[in-house]
Each structure stands twice: as structure tokens, then as C-alpha cells.
């Protein structure tokens, strides 16, 4: 694997105005929330909503924009004796890791102000994995569409689907099938959406889990167990891996 390209793109991105302002923006929010709440649990919960909303959105949109913007650079690289796989992998890893670093760095002020806690470490972990997952999805949508507008449009649709529509559909299903035992079904369904998975993993770590009553207890039973932890980690990894593999497949067959 060619590290040089990865390093080059990575540092280029870290220096870019967008990534820096993204980190600063998150830092401002997290510092503000931590300053006004003074309670690390509440801070974690508020920042959880921010992370679940913003990280996927930024990763998707900026991922697509970056992909289209570096099309000429990619074309240039491909004229050299480098495989398409190497180029794509470098692009993906560079972008995903720089976005993860920006997200984690943006949350650090809250950590400094409120002190460290396992919930917060979890939050950092979730935001990093969401960055990877949604960068992969962004690359998939961009490599599938040669037109920039369509690619970005598809990214926005993916975001809308996963952060809003998916939940609405699940709620609808729960209401419609409320006469059936749904616990197991819901656990499977939530594991299918990385945003929901992140939310539930954090919620179960906080005392909000007590509100979930009997139903919550069964979720906690699953997600708190080793099997549940492995399953959710597996789901997150799959969410990062599968779109990436599909994207690299499309990229290899793409006509430049």
C-alpha cells in the first residue's frame, strides 16, 4: 500500500479550511454545552444529539464534495503506475480519518471542562465511527454518479433517510404491530442503522435508560452483554466496510 498518497491527501485535508472550521464549530458547541450544563452526563446527552445530527451530515456532504473536487487529481494519479484500489483507499482513509480527528478534536473541550467519563469516551468512539461510515456512503454515492449535483443530492437523501425517515418508519412499524412481541425485531432493526445504534448505545450508558422501563431492560440486557457489544461493533464495522467495498467496485469500473 502506498502511504505517500495517503499522507499527502490526509495532511492536505487537515490543513483545509473546511475541516478546520468543522472542528472549530464542534468545539464551540461542545465548550458552550459543557460550560452551561456543568454535568458530564447532561453534556454527553446534548452532545450526542449534536453528533448524531451533524457528523453524518458533514461526512456525507463534504465527502461527496471532496470526491468531485479531487476528480482531476485522481485522474492525474491514475495516469501513473498506481492501481485504482490504492488511490481510492488512500482517498477514503485520508478523508475519513481527518473527519474523525476533527470530530473528536471538536468534542475535546467538553472533556476538558467536564472531566472524563466512560459515556463520553463512548461518544468519541461513536463520532469517529460515524465519520468513517458516512464517508464511505458519500464515496459510494459519488462514485455511482458522475454528475456532481446528483451525487450530492443522493448523499442528502441518504442522510435524510437514515437520520429521520428510518426512525419514523420504525415508529410506524412499532405502532402498527404493537400487538406482537417486538423486542427482538427492534433490536435487529436498530442495529441496521448506525445512527440509531450509536444513540441507543449511549442512552443505555446514561441514567436515561431507567426511563425505558421493562422494554429498556430487555434492550439493556442485549446491548450490555458481550454478545450485544460484539454484535453492535460488528454492525458498525459492516456499515463502514460494505459501502466502501461497493464504492471501490464502482470506482474500478468507472470511465474517466
Amino acid at each position: 500500500m502506498n502511504i505517500t498518497i495517503l499522507k499527502y491527501i490526509f495532511f492536505e485535508l487537515l490543513r483545509s479550511r473546511f475541516v478546520i472550521s468543522y472542528a472549530v464549530f464542534l468545539a464551540a458547541i461542545s465548550a458552550g454545552v459543557a460550560y452551561f450544563s456543568n454535568d458530564e452526563l447532561k453534556t454527553s446527552l446534548t452532545l450526542l444529539n449534536v453528533v448524531l445530527f451533524i457528523v453524518p451530515l458533514v461526512s456525507l456532504i463534504f465527502g461527496s464534495i471532496h470526491f468531485y473536487d479531487s476528480e482531476e487529481f485522481i485522474e492525474f494519479l491514475l495516469t501513473q503506475p498506481i492501481s485504482r484500489n490504492t488511490v481510492f483507499r488512500a482517498e477514503f482513509l485520508a478523508l475519513a480519518s481527518s473527519l474523525s480527528i476533527a470530530a473528536v478534536a471538536g468534542l475535546i473541550p467538553a472533556l476538558i471542562l467536564n472531566g472524563i467519563s466512560s459515556t463520553f469516551i463512548f461518544l468519541l468512539f461513536i463520532s469517529a465511527s460515524l465519520s468513517f461510515i458516512f464517508t464511505g456512503l458519500a464515496f459510494l454515492s459519488s462514485s455511482m454518479n458522475s454528475e456532481k449535483v446528483r451525487g450530492i443530492g443522493l448523499s442528502i437523501i441518504i442522510w435524510l433517510l437514515m437520520s429521520v425517515l428510518f426512525d419514523l418508519i420504525v415508529v410506524l412499524l412499532i405502532v402498527v404491530f404493537s400487538n406482537y412481541p417486538l423486542e427482538r425485531f427492534i433490536i435487529i432493526v436498530t442495529a441496521l442503522n448506525p445512527i440509531d445504534l450509536g444513540r441507543i448505545l449511549i442512552l443505555l450508558k446514561t441514567d436515561a435508560s431507567a426511563m425505558m422501563g421493562f422494554t429498556g431492560a430487555s434492550f439493556k440486557d442485549f446491548f450490555g452483554s458481550t454478545a450485544g457489544m460484539i454484535a453492535s461493533a460488528f454492525s458498525l464495522v459492516m456499515w463502514a466496510l460494505i459501502p466502501y467495498l461497493f464504492a471501490i467496485r464502482t470506482f474500478r469500473r468507472k470511465n474517466f
Binding site: 412499532i174 404493537s178 426511563m211
Partner: protein
């Protein structure tokens, strides 16, 4: 030898003076003439004072059959050594003060207790320390007793193998104040108790309830703190209960309430603080309760009113940072809400009279959905649900049409109760 003789002379003198006055003082210590409490009780007659000097007295199953006063110095310990109950009071107007009682064993047949008050009128049990007992203070069929300033500490493990801190059964006109009760099943338990007052107690870390009412009418409790109990307070099958100035705090857990009202009629709930309870108040089949000027802060559910509750009045309360303000299993509203401060209120106040110009609907769509299918709690704090709630508030179609606060307060009621929330 000289000391004993001296003691005997002192005793004789006291006996002499006491008999002159009609009452005597009996001092109990390991070197005194009287070395056991049982002996002192046997020798005592009405009006006597038994003074317990510091030391550990390994005695149990004591019975007080005369009108005496048992005054213990600091360090006087009655250790029942898990062999039986502590003291049973069977005479009117007995006073027990300053005694430390320990180690009354769990029994599944008898209600063993450190102090048992059996069918008397008038007694004072104050400033005692009671540790590791099954029941601590058990009052049955009595009236006009004062239970004040006791420190009660249990080691309850399970509900079935533990007793209550202060247990009142079939009593009237009791005064229970400034006690500290931890680690029992119920902190304070009342069954068939009337006209009694419970004030300034601290009841925490009890397995079931901090305070538990059953079939007890016309009582009041005020200024108490209920913290970290299985559930804060349960008031069941009672009438005319006054609840003022209490703090219900951190009663948090899968089935925890700050306050559970079941079949309570004509209660008054005023100036209380509910802070971080899973459900601050759970109301079931209760009518005509006035919920006035309370603070609901950071609870899961502030008010959970089941549909079988009628004509309750919720006025002038603060609702701050609760996940759900009001929740109900009914689509009708039989209760009255007015002039509360709701932090989620998004209205405006054009004429600046302090009252919002558009009504507030305290029931959110999500809480209605949750009521129908509890599994949807998995969507707690989801963006989608927040959007749904916002839409529903603008154009209500599912949430109870009539459940509204017509005159929502625009600014928070100020009081210094929220000091307790830090």
C-alpha cells in the same frame, strides 16, 4: 468494696428521696447495684426514671409495664444479639430516650422490632439510635405518641426479608418528626393511621418506599426528604392527605416513582420539589387532588395521570427539563391545568401580563405513542421524534384535544426550593 458501699449508700439516698417524692431513679451500670435493664424494669414502679450508664447490655425481650422513663447516656447500647425483640412498651406515657439498640434478627413469624409500642396512649421515643434491626420502631393500636430525632439504620437486602423503619398500625394522633431512616423496606409505614403528622424526616436508600400510606385518612406530611428509595412515597386508599414542602429526589430506576398516588381522594400537594425521579408523580384512580406550586425538575415523567383520575387541579407549578411533562393513557382529559410554567412552551406574550397568549399542550405526541406501544421508547431522543412532536404541537390531531393549559405562565415561578437540585 468502698465503691460498692458508696454506690449502695447513694442508691439508698436516691431511693429514699425518690420514695419521698413518689418516684425514684434507678441507675443501671455494670458496677451499680442494678446491672441489667430487665432488673431495673422489674424493680421500677410508676413514675420512676431508669438511667442507663454507658456499656453494652446484652438483653432482649424486655417489657415495660409501668409508667417509667428510660434515659440512656451516650454509649449505652442494648444489644439483642439476634435472640429476640428489643423493648416492648405496654403502658401509657412511657419515655425512651438516647438509647442505642442493635441486632434484632429477621423473623418470618413475628414482627420483631427494636422498640414495640403495644396498645398505649401517649409515649415518647426520641433521640435513639437503632441499628441492624428487622423492624425498628413498631407502634400498634396506640395514640398520641411522639417519635422524634431517632437515627434508624437497617441492612435490608430483599423486600421479603426486611421490615419497616417506623411502622404505625392502627394508630391515631401520632407525631413522627426529624428521624433519619435508611436501609429498611419502607422508611415509614402507616396502615389505618389517622390524624397524624410526619415532618422533617429523612428517608433514604430504603428498598421499597420512603413513606407508605395504606388506608390512612386525614394525615399530613411536610418538610420531609425522600431520596434514593425504591420509590419515594406511596399514598394508597386514603383520604384528606396534606403533602407540603417535601423533597422527592433521585428516586430513579426502572419502576421508581417520586410519589405514587393510588385511590387517594381530596389531597393537597403543595410546595414540593420533585427532582430527578423516573416518574415524579404517578396518579392512579385518585380524585380531587390539588397539585399547587410544586417544582418538577429533570424528571423522566413529571406527571403521569391515568384516565381513571378525575377533577385533579394542576396549577402554578414549574415544569423544567422533564423528558415528558404530562402523560396519560386516556385520550380524554378529566383534570384541570392552569397557570403552570412549562419550559417547553413556545408561545408568546404580546400584552406582557406574564401569561402566554396561546395555550400549551403538555402531552407530547411521543408520549401518546409510547402509551400505545412501550417499545417505541427505543426512539427516545431521536431527531425524528422531536420533529414529529413539533408538528403535532402546531396541528394537534392525536394528542388529547382538551388537555391544555389555557393560561401558561410565561416566566418561571421563583422560589428557593431549587437549591435542592444542586
Amino acid at each position: 468494696m468502698i465503691r460498692i458501699r458508696l454506690n449502695i449508700t447513694v442508691l439508698l439516698i436516691t431511693l429514699l428521696t425518690a420514695s419521698v417524692a413518689g418516684s425514684k431513679e434507678i441507675t443501671v451500670c455494670s458496677t451499680c447495684g442494678v446491672t441489667t435493664i430487665a432488673q431495673a424494669l422489674a424493680e421500677s414502679s410508676d413514675g420512676d426514671v431508669i438511667i442507663l450508664k454507658p456499656g453494652i447490655y446484652k438483653e432482649h425481650s424486655l417489657t415495660v409495664a409501668n409508667r417509667i422513663e428510660l434515659r440512656a447516656d451516650e454509649g449505652a447500647v442494648l444489644d439483642a444479639d439476634k435472640k429476640g425483640p428489643g423493648i416492648t412498651i405496654k403502658h401509657d406515657s412511657v419515655r425512651i430516650a438516647g438509647l442505642t439498640i442493635r441486632n434484632v434478627d429477621v423473623s418470618y413469624i413475628n414482627d420483631l422490632s427494636a422498640v414495640m409500642v403495644d396498645n398505649v396512649s401517649g409515649c415518647v421515643i426520641e433521640r435513639n439510635v437503632i441499628e441492624d434491626t428487622f423492624f425498628a420502631i413498631y407502634l400498634a393500636g396506640s395514640s398520641m405518641c411522639k417519635v422524634e430525632g431517632n437515627r434508624i439504620q437497617g441492612q435490608a437486602k430483599t423486600e421479603s426479608s426486611s421490615g419497616n423503619g417506623i411502622h404505625l398500625w392502627k394508630c391515631s394522633a401520632m407525631y413522627v418528626a426529624d428521624n433519619q431512616i435508611t436501609g429498611h423496606r419502607d422508611g415509614i409505614y402507616l396502615e389505618f393511621v389517622s390524624s397524624s403528622s410526619i415532618r422533617g424526616n429523612y428517608s433514604g436508600r430504603n428498598l421499597r418506599y420512603g413513606l407508605h400510606f395504606m388506608f390512612s385518612d386525614s394525615n399530613s406530611y411536610s418538610g420531609n426528604t425522600f431520596e434514593n428509595n425504591g420509590a419515594g412515597v406511596a399514598v394508597m386508599y386514603s383520604k384528606f392527605i396534606k403533602m407540603t414542602g417535601n423533597t422527592f429526589k433521585n428516586n430513579w430506576g426502572e419502576s421508581a416513582y417520586g410519589l405514587l398516588l393510588k385511590e387517594l381522594y381530596d389531597g393537597l400537594l403543595e410546595d414540593n420539589l420533585f427532582f430527578r425521579n423516573t416518574a415524579a408523580i404517578h396518579v392512579e384512580g385518585s380524585n380531587r387532588i390539588e397539585i399547587v406550586r410544586n417544582d418538577f425538575i429533570e424528571n423522566g415523567w413529571a406527571l403521569y395521570l391515568l384516565g381513571n383520575s378525575y377533577e385533579n387541579k394542576v396549577t402554578a407549578n414549574n415544569f423544567i427539563n422533564n423528558t415528558f411533562d404530562v402523560s396519560s393513557n386516556s385520550s380524554r382529559n378529566n383534570n384541570f391545568y392552569s397557570e403552570n410554567y412549562w419550559d417547553k412552551y413556545k408561545g408568546y406574550d404580546l400584552n406582557r401580563d406574564g401569561t402566554g397568549d396561546v395555550p400549551y399542550r403538555p402531552v407530547s405526541l411521543f408520549s401518546v405513542i409510547l402509551e400505545k406501544s412501550p417499545e417505541s421508547i427505543i426512539m427516545l431522543r431521536s431527531v425524528a421524534v422531536d420533529i414529529l412532536d413539533a408538528i403535532e404541537r402546531v396541528i394537534p390531531s392525536v394528542i388529547p384535544e382538551t388537555l391544555i393549559d389555557d393560561r401558561p405562565k410565561f416566566t418561571r415561578y421563583s422560589n428557593d426550593r431549587d437549591k435542592g437540585t444542586s
